[in-house]
Subunit: 504 residues, 2 copies
């Protein structure tokens, strides 16, 4: 079984596996291949094209990732059909095997594994996305909750408005306006953390097959949410000022996405801050291409050095930028409260989707949070955690300088919860992850955040939720492993993530 008409050019700039995947997509588009059809066994196609079998496997994996095909180990790779009736049936359980495309593909399983690691409290965790547990203002929050239940228990234990608890929306609007992004409470939708804010924003604009531009690497939760919507995720690399404008223009021109997703401040995972000139440039480029920006400012209040920069939302005047943020990172993750600010025609759609997803966030929690902020404890808390995070990020920086091989690069962040490490090229992050885990240290693998492959020699290390002592011990364990397992490669790391990668 072969694919007549499929050719490759080994001399071309595009990697061969991408050429193959693109060729198959073209054939599907032109009608030479049909939805539901099985692709040739990798062995056969490798023979036909005179390439290594792994190249075919990589091409098929890419097609599965792009939801063009579905792969089942041992049962072949099939092109995805346009309608539900073509869905493959799971022979083990014909009823339950045929899930919606939203939950097909490898992304779903990975996601749960990532989250389990990220929220693990075993040993020393430098992998989590959470703030310092021991600094959480538990008692002042308990007092705010007590007051809320005493004064307005029956009200907040009933259903509330879908868009959120009025006084909390007022408070958020006032805080944003104070920080230079004037906005009205009526444009604020309270969500279950910024994950939901982001997911709703994507749902309002993305149909299956639509392209969405993201920074590459980017937040794993964004990758999963987009995968569930069947989006084609187009990654654009960063330089030290943020997303690269030359490649961004290219991606917007070629893929015409309705939406792009960026984290200009303390970008997750690289901790970079987009420069002010770059911010203006990105807003202008998006405007020229009529692309809505979803700006995720999850850590905007967690700067511990330098000065705040205007958000894209502020630069744009809130016209075509959806701004989202959260109380999870700066305050208390267990509340599950975030928000999104959107211009009116979008706002109504977001509220409708919020209603469809869960009828609104708990009014009880929102009211208690409002009472907590009104009592003035949030500012006090922020001052305390910023100071702790500054010390912890310094401790991490110093420990990395002492223990990591010379080829490793770490730029100490000016805010947020994590730092980003680029290791010598030869280092395999998966292997390092496993070895470190056996020694009681959890790290975030950089490869998980990359949408176009790569990043195996990168790590995301959280300084926020460990003591300085734990950070020093954890980094020492990693350094020892690196020096023992990859002792020869002392060459400076290549900053792969700064380079242009082909944009499919």
């Amino acid at each position: 079984m072969t694919l007549p008409g499929l050719t490759i050019d080994p001399a071309a700039a595009t990697p061969v596996y991408r050429q193959i995947a693109e060729g198959i997509q073209r054939a599907l588009h032109d009608g030479r291949l049909a939805a539901g059809q099985q692709l040739p066994p990798t062995r056969d196609l490798a023979k036909q094209l005179s390439v290594n079998r792994n190249t075919i496997v990589a091409a098929y994996d890419l097609l599965v990732e792009q939801r063009v095909a579905t792969g089942h180990t041992g049962r072949g790779t099939f092109l995805v059909g346009a309608a539900g009736g073509d869905r493959p049936v799971n022979p083990d359980d014909p009823w339950l095997g045929a899930f919606a495309r939203a939950v097909q593909g490898p992304g779903v399983g990975n996601l749960l594994t990532i989250y389990r690691v990220a929220t693990s409290h075993e040993g020393i965790s430098l992998a989590g996305g959470y703030p310092a547990g021991e600094l959480m203002p538990v008692e002042p929050f308990a007092r705010a909750m007590e007051k809320t239940l005493r004064e307005r228990g029956a009200e907040v234990l009933s259903y509330g408005p879908t868009a959120g608890y009025g006084p909390l929306r007022e408070t958020i609007a006032a805080e944003m306006s104070r920080k230079g992004a004037p906005c009205d409470a009526s444009s604020i939708l309270v969500t279950n953390g910024s994950q939901q804010a982001m997911e709703l924003a994507f749902r309002a604009f993305v149909d299956p097959g639509d392209a969405v531009v993201v920074e590459d690497p980017t937040y794993t939760g964004a990758i999963s949410a987009l995968a569930a919507l069947g989006a084609r995720v187009v990654g654009v690399p960063l330089d030290d000022q943020g997303i690269r404008p030359d490649l961004l223009k290219l991606a917007l021109a070629r893929h015409r996405p309705r939406v792009m997703y960026v984290q200009p401040t303390f970008h997750n995972p690289t901790a970079r801050v987009m420069g002010e000139a770059r911010r203006r440039e990105v807003v202008a480029i998006a405007a020229r291409h009529r692309c809505v920006i979803v700006e995720d400012d999850w850590a905007g209040d967690l700067r511990f050095e330098g000065r705040d920069l205007p958000t894209l939302h502020a630069l744009d005047g809130g016209k075509h930028v959806l701004y989202l943020s959260t109380f999870s990172k700066k305050l208390l993750p267990g509340l599950r409260v975030g928000w999104v600010v959107a211009p009116e025609p979008v706002f109504d759609r977001l509220v409708a989707l919020k209603q469809i997803e869960d009828c609104g966030t708990s009014p009880l929690v929102q009211a208690a949070l409002h009472a907590f902020i009104a009592s003035g404890f949030q500012e006090e808390h922020l001052a305390r955690v910023r100071s702790a995070y500054l010390s912890r990020s310094r401790a991490m920086d110093e420990a990395i300088r002492i223990h990591f091989p010379d080829g490793a690069r770490f730029t100490r962040p000016s805010g947020g919860l994590f730092g980003w490490v680029v290791l010598p090229d030869s280092v395999d992050g998966d292997e390092l992850f496993t070895a470190a885990r056996e020694r009681g240290v959890l790290v975030g693998r950089g490869s998980l955040f990359h949408v176009s492959g790569g990043g195996r020699n990168t790590l995301r290390l959280t300084f926020a939720s460990s003591s300085e002592e734990q950070i020093r011990s954890g980094v020492k364990v990693l350094g020892d492993l690196l020096n023992r397992r990859w002792p020869k490669d002392r060459a400076a790391s290549r900053e792969r993530d700064f380079e242009a990668v082909p944009i499919l």
Copy 2:
């Protein structure tokens, strides 16, 4: 501009507007019409087919509802394209006009209006979907919350497991097992109310264009969630034992849905209870057609007369029935806590989608709810509300007998929060709704719950959240309006909802 080849048969059993809509769908399917194409002005097509223009409007509305077309007042009706690139552009704001199909169509706006009415506390509301506010156990809950924050504040204010707070999952599993549906805590996913449980269940199985069978009428929140997923909603009428098995078989055979959604107990909106024999029959029919059942048991604990029947989930042994329920109706809506029980391969997908939507329900709220139940207050509360709801439903029944015209039918429910009224045929529910609202009485319009049109002469009346005095006053206002505005029609109402309607 006409549509050559489109013909109708005025003598056929299928209404003419449906024949037209089906003809257009067939033409689209056969390639005689193309995605993105504009349909003829209603005037032209009415002339071509020699029918009333309103018939064409109804046909186009149906196509819009089914997401086959998009309608923009004054700008014509367009067939929907298969890919994102074909989306219509809003000339008022070219950036923001082209939303995802999830938030196109008339359903989105209706939804918010319905919710605003349903959660309104103006005057006497017989429209809400909420329990008795003044009976809510505010103080015992406040004590449980205080204890939770004191004993485990830091833990529950941090991130928790996506699937839910362990002890609450154990409690739910134990309660279900005690009631004859053995299930393990590991199969329970805690959600933000049963709305999210339902929405996740649909997302796991429904791709755009897939058919989903529901009872007709059914819960408006289900209709909206399915519309946002681009499902084709196929309504099957009920008789006094529940969903009609003859029509269910027909619908499953013709549309081959992966999923059907039912509320066997205190069906919303009709308050009917599916009989035990019918339950067994429905489970068997679904099994024969390999259709997964999503069983919404939102009010299972709110029976105030008669004996509990086994759930479909219990009858099936949890193999191919997803069971969902909530604490919103039996306890406290403001917690936003519900759950879904699913067999393993489905469960993992639901957890992944939950992670994608919001990273998990607030552990704080879940832990406080667990502490509340452990303190034994839930049973006490349930006994109190059941007794109140029995009295209130009796008061409503009596008031309707006194004040409503002879042709009106009301069957006093044996549980839940609402009763269902079928009024004389001539009564226009929209007109009644508006007139009653002006007099400070809110009612639920039955038409909103119907998926195939109709039900204009039906009302859903909530007895749970008003005092007996308010119920008597509200029903009297409605009765006076009915007798004044529709004085002549004293004929017995036809039970439209008991009759077979054509299944598209």
